[in-house]
Structure formats: structure tokens, C-alpha cells
């Protein structure tokens, strides 16, 4: 995965532009910092403009078409660069040589390490303190189109295990009840419900979720309007 990521980054942001800049600017004619700018700009432009052409084709934009297109650009520009003598021109790119030395290398290493620590610190999830968990309740008609079938579900995003009771009411009368459902954080519960023949009529089907630590107080409420025997 890491290798794929690196290859992908190079293929999109570096290689096409590097090859194009080598084709346009023979070795020794562009300072390194300018070549970096030209490389990035031409890579981004190649991807952006190439996307327009791929979009017009029937092949579209996919892993395969991107790879073929960008590799083609890279290889084609490399050939031009070689033909223009990029590898053979004497002399190094203009600009002074960088001499790091042991101390400077060490300092850069310290800076890099501290930055990595900073990123790790910043990426930590927020502490629970001051925040509040929650639960979700849903009530929907059955997915298979059954006019008297319903789906009911609860998901816990609380900070600890919670015990629930659920009541399903039709026009205010409890028709189904589920008790002592314990969900840990991230856990889900769901059930399919089919109304009996005596329950098939117009009205409101209501689902109410209660928490054991707050009995009698509706925690979540959902309801579906029934227009008649057919739904």
C-alpha cells in the first residue's frame, strides 16, 4: 500500500513534469528550484488537461487509463529529452552546491521528528470530556415494498454501554415491545416488523426508544404515517 501510494504520487505529481521539463530545458539550463516549479506545474497541467481528453474518450477516467496516459506522457517526454541530449550535456545544473554537514543534518532531523510528533498530537481524537454521546433510532417501511412491513433500528454512539427498551405503537397502542437491549458504543440493533391483519389500517406507527437510566422519558421518537391497509 505504501509503495502504491508513493508510485501514485510520483506518477501524478513528479514524473510527467520532470520528463517534460527535461525535454524542454536541457541539463544545465535550469536551476534546481526553478526545475522543481516547472516539474510540479507541468505534472499538474498534464493530469488536468489529460483528464479532459480522457473524459471525451469512451474509456473515461480510471486507474488503467490514468496509468497508461501518464506513463505515455512520461516516456514520450523522456525520449525527447534523451534525443535532446539531456543525459549527455556536460556540466551540472546552475546553482551552488549544498553542503549539509553533520550538525545541519542533525538539526534537520530534529526538526522533522518534532513535526511528526506535532502531526501525531494534532491527529489524536478529541477527549470525551465536555462532549456527549448519542443514539439513533429509525423506523422505515420494509425495503421489499411490503405495505405492512417495517424496519426498526437503533445504533449506539454513546460513550459506554447503554440498556434500552423499545416500544412500537399503532395509534397510541403498544403493539410490539423489546426490552433490555444492551448496546456498546458502535453496536447496532435492528428488527423487521410485520403488522397483523387487525393492525392494517390508517394511522400513525410510532417507535419510542427509552433508556433504562431514564425510565419513562422518551429518548428518541420516530413515526410513520399509514394512509390505509396498503401503506
Amino acid at each position: 500500500m505504501i509503495i502504491l501510494s508513493i508510485v501514485g504520487i510520483l506518477l501524478v505529481l513528479v514524473l510527467p513534469g520532470a520528463a517534460l521539463s527535461a525535454a524542454l530545458f536541457p541539463r544545465g539550463t535550469l536551476a534546481i528550484e526553478k526545475r522543481v516549479v516547472v516539474t510540479l506545474v507541468l505534472s499538474i497541467a498534464a493530469a488536468a488537461l489529460g483528464g479532459l481528453f480522457l473524459n471525451l474518450s469512451t474509456l473515461g477516467l480510471s486507474f488503467g487509463t490514468w496509468a497508461i496516459y501518464l506513463l505515455t506522457v512520461t516516456l514520450g517526454a523522456t525520449v525527447i529529452a534523451v534525443l535532446r541530449g539531456f543525459t549527455g550535456v556536460a556540466g551540472r545544473a546552475p546553482g551552488p552546491r549544498l553542503q549539509l554537514g553533520l550538525l545541519n543534518t542533525g538539526l534537520f532531523g530534529v526538526a522533522a521528528a518534532v513535526i511528526l510528533i506535532a502531526l501525531a498530537v494534532a491527529a489524536r481524537p478529541a477527549p470525551q470530556q465536555g462532549l456527549q454521546g448519542y443514539s439513533t433510532l429509525y423506523l422505515l417501511p420494509a425495503a421489499n415494498g411490503d405495505p405492512n412491513g417495517y424496519r426498526i433500528g437503533v445504533t449506539s454512539a454513546e460513550f459506554s454501554a447503554v440498556q434500552y427498551d423499545i416500544q412500537l405503537k399503532l395509534n397510541g397502542q403498544v403493539i410490539y415491545e423489546w426490552s433490555n437491549i444492551t448496546l456498546t458504543p458502535g453496536q447496532e440493533w435492528s428488527s423487521a416488523v410485520e403488522l397483523s391483519s387487525s393492525q392494517k389500517g390508517a394511522g400513525r406507527l410510532e417507535a419510542v426508544l427509552y433508556r433504562h437510566d431514564h425510565p419513562g422519558q422518551a429518548y428518541r421518537q420516530t413515526e410513520v404515517v399509514r394512509t390505509g391497509p396498503g401503506g
Binding site: S5, L49, L107, A118, A126, T136
Partner: protein
Amino acid sequence: MSLARSRESGATGTGDMVSPAASVPGTRTWEAQPGQTAALQERAGSVAAPLGWLPALCVVGAFGLLGVAIAFNGSRGGASWAEPVFWLGLLLLYVPIAFRVISAAPSRAERLGLVVFAGLGLYLVKIMQNPLAFTYPDEFVHQYNVDQILNTGHLFSPNVALPVTPLYPGLSTVTAALASLSGLGSFVSGLIVIAAARLILVLSLFLFIERISGSDRLGSIASMLYMTHPNFVFFSAEFSYESLALPLALAVAFLIAERESLDRSVARGATTIAAIVGIMAVIITHHLTSYALVAFFFGFAILDWRLSSKRRWAPWLIALFALAAASEWLFFVAGLTFSYLWPVAYRALLSIGQFFTGKGFTRELFTSSGGRVAPLWERAVGIGSVLVSAVGLPFGLWRVWNDQRKNPFALFLGGASCIYFGALALRFFPAAWEIANRASEFVFVGVSFVLALATVWLVGTRWLTGARQALLAAAFALLFVGGLVAGWSPNARLARPFLTEADGHTVEPQGLVASEWMLSFLGPKNRIASDPSNMHFLLTYGNQWPFSGNAYGIQSMMQATAIDQSVVSIIRSTGVRYILVDKRQISADQLVGVYLDRPSDPADSALLSRKVYGKWDGQAGVSRIYDSGNIVIYDVSALGGLPPGR
């Protein structure tokens, strides 16, 4: 260029340029003489470039970033110490580098390294504020565009939240390519693309100013000054099409300046080709940036025509090419741009006109749309930063006129700096504030150049005393803090909690969870009305067709206290099938409404009136299908005369 460089003789690095030889007939006096740059660089290549303070300042800056990270961690937990630590960390990153580049001592390599470190370091600040997901409004929009390309394999998929964005597919195409080939996903790929854009920006700005002025010192000072503009730390670092287009445009500006310095050679032709490719990339990436680039080309062409002894057609050809390409894209691909940009301009003009006719009102400075008044120190710093730049501008403009008035690039940037202060006045008008804010990113290049000239002139070159250098670094710090204070809402500056952990499980914002639930249980592309914050979750995570804001009357419908005929007619006209109601008042603020709320914080926990959020309950034909506490989803298909939802 020659006069500016002669005053830089105090520079000691071997990377610095020397005064040019006597003017060669047929060339412009402000540009480097043919062959000079290559000879200089060849000579410089034999000497090692000293890094000076660069390694040490990188360590200092890294600790500044660590301070910012600790501050963000603290602010997510509601710590009161987070804000001062945040500012300290930022200043630790910025000020030592500003102090150093003001001096004449650093080598070119050191200056380049410092500017790149500062620019990328400030980008890391934005990443550390939101390291786990995109949370800014425009970021959701562009992430959706990327995901649509990945899912459909094609460009130009409609985007109901910001319809014009798919018509400028540069950013989303590059990001989709990276996500597809690297397997990193749209979020990480987007971060990497904007990081590359940030690198292009800082390098191009440095090289552009250096090229037109002949001074790497000016290039580095101008780059550090550019980082003080109000949008640099957060808005310009967001995953948005302008964040890519502006760096590309600066790179093109550098290439054009570079081209002007080359004699008739293959290199000149190659630079022209690279610039043309860059122009095309800008045009398909962002509307306003492409128009700003066209304006730059025409400005340069006009000034060059007036100032050159020899009439040259090349600048005009480039300008006409850019104009033709931008126009073609606008008229044949992105005609929607008119209906996107014109209302903004019209409202701004109306606001200004109403003020002068006595019918309008001005915007209260330092007061947010939510009524929050900035604390005294923020107001003082904000005003102070404007005053500092206002004081420095005349000196800088005088240097432009004195030393650079044969230099068309310098004159253009001088003019741009004057526009910036005119645009500042627009901030007093409510509907024109956005224009001023957006314009600042372009014209601030001019401000940076002019203030850099003023800086160098103010402190002299060879015999800079530590005290003057420190005073100027303090002025830079004031500009930096003042810019940030003015440019980003104070309640969005520090990090907020986007997710937390419980028993190994991640707890995410209710809007995000509700959006993912909709996609799973109700399928994609359902029309749903919601508040501005949750609209972005519905779009990006739910793949729904959300409606929000003033368009189509959605906001008035959401804020109504009863279901009356106007509400029903809005539902029918928009075809919305579902309504997502977020009971929290903060959901109206799309910058901060996307986060987990802290019940103990009054700003977070304040609820809408029960009449507003509860008006759908018990209504004939309305089903309440989802409840997560703050968020309730209603099925209103019956009200709209639509068949029932899934």
C-alpha cells in the same frame, strides 16, 4: 532592476546577483543582460552554499508547530489556555524567519529554504486544525466532485451545492488521478495536491519577485509579507479550486518574467511553452484566477508597450491567447459562471449604491454575522496591521517610482498594491465584503512587493542594526496576526472536536452519521432540505441532492414556525422529499456547525425555537423516520405530492 540590485551590495551570499553590465542595445534596462545569469550561476556553482540559520530556524519553527498542535488538542477539549498557546506557536514559526530574511546576511539558498519552510509550515497548521477530514464548506463541495469522478469515471457531474465547480475540473481531476493511482482516497490525495500547490506558490512568488527586482532578499521578504495576508493560513490552504489555481498563476507569472530575461533562444521558447501549458491549466481550474491572469498579461503588455524603446508583440500575443482561451472556456463550457459571479457583484454594487443614497448601512467591523464582537486586542491588532501597511505603502511606491519605473512588472505590482487599499474600503459594505476578501489574494502580491521595497529601503542594506531588524520583525508579526484576525472567524480559528473515541469506537458528528444512514437506507440522490452545515455532509458523505440557504426559499421554510401554504409550495417547487432538521442554532454556521458540540458551551448548545424545529411533528402526511437527538429526518413526500420514499 539595475538600481535595486546596486543597493543590495551588502548581501554576502554567493547566490546573490551582482549589478548588471552596461546596457546592451535592444534589451530593456531593467532586465538581466543576456548570458549574465548563466555566468553568475556557473561561478556560484563552484562554491558551497551556506545554510546559515536555516537548520536552527527549522528546529525553532518545528517547535512552533508542536505548540500549535498542543493548542489544537487543548481547544478540542475546551481548554482556556489553547488560544494563547496557538498564537505563541504561530509566532514562533513565523517571526524568527521574518527576522532573518530582513537581514542582508543570508545566502540565497538559506532564504529559499526559509521561505519554503515557512510556507509549508503554515500549511501544516491548517492540516493540524482538521487532520481527519475536510470540514470547510468549499472542501466538502470539491471532495464531492472528486468522488463523482472516481465513481463515474467522467468529469462534469452536476453539483447542486455549488453548480459552477464541476465546470472547472482542474483540481478535482488531478486529485482524482492521485486518489485512483495511489489508493489514498480523496481526503489524503486532496491534502497532497494542495501541499504541492503551496510549494509552487512559495517558490514561484520568491522567484518572480527575485526575477523582476534582481534581489533574492526582496524575493524572500516579499514572500514572508505575502504570508501575512488574511487568507493565507486557512482559506488559501483549503481544498478548493482557487487554492490550486492561484499558485499555478503565480508560476506562470514567474515563467513570463523569466522569459523576458532570456535572449532569443531555445530556452525562451521552452519557457513560453511551459507558460502556455500553465495558462491552460489555470483556465480549467478557476474562473477568477484566470481572469486575474488575463488582466496581468494585458497590464504587462500595455506597460511594456509604453516603456520599451522597441515595440514588442510577444506580450500582446500571450495576453490575447490567454483571453481567447479563458473566453472560450467561459462561453462554451462554463457559461454558468455568469449566473454565479454576477449576483455577487450586483449585490455589492447595490450595497454601495444604497449606502451613498442613504438607504443602506455599513457593516460593523470586527463583528461577526452572529453578532460576536472581537475582543479589544484583536481590534487593536487588526487596525494596527492596516496602519502599518498604509504607512509602508507610500515609501514602497516611492521606491517603485524612483528605482523601478522602467520595469513594467514593478509598475503593475505597484498599481495592484493601490487596488488592495481600495478593496479594503469594500469591507465596510456587507454585500461587498466577499469581493474585498477574494480580491485580496491577488492584489496582495503587489502589496508584498511594495512593502518589501519599503522594508529594504527603511533599514538600509549594509549596516542593518539588530534593533531596527527586530522592530521590523515585530511589524511583520503585527501584519501576520492582524491578517489572521481579520481573515478568519475567531470561533473557527482554533480546532474543534470532529470525532472522539469510546471503547475503541469512533463517535462522529450526528450530521455525518445521518448522511451515511440516508445513503445506506434511502439510496443516493434524494432531494433533501437542510441547514447549511448538514447540507455539506449530505452532499459528500450521503451523496444526496441537498438544498439549503436562500435559494428556492429553503431558509425561510426551515425557519418558519408553522406549516403553511408557502412551506408546502416550496416543497412542491423544489421537489424535496426529505427534510433534515438540526435543532442546534450553530448549524446555521457552516464553518463550525459540522463539529461535535459541547453541551456545556452555550454557543454550541443553544437550540432553535421549538416552534421552528418541531413544526413538522404530527403534521398530516409527514413521517418522522430518523432521530439522533439533535437531528431529525422527516419524510415530506406526501406534502409534495410525491410517491412515498423507500
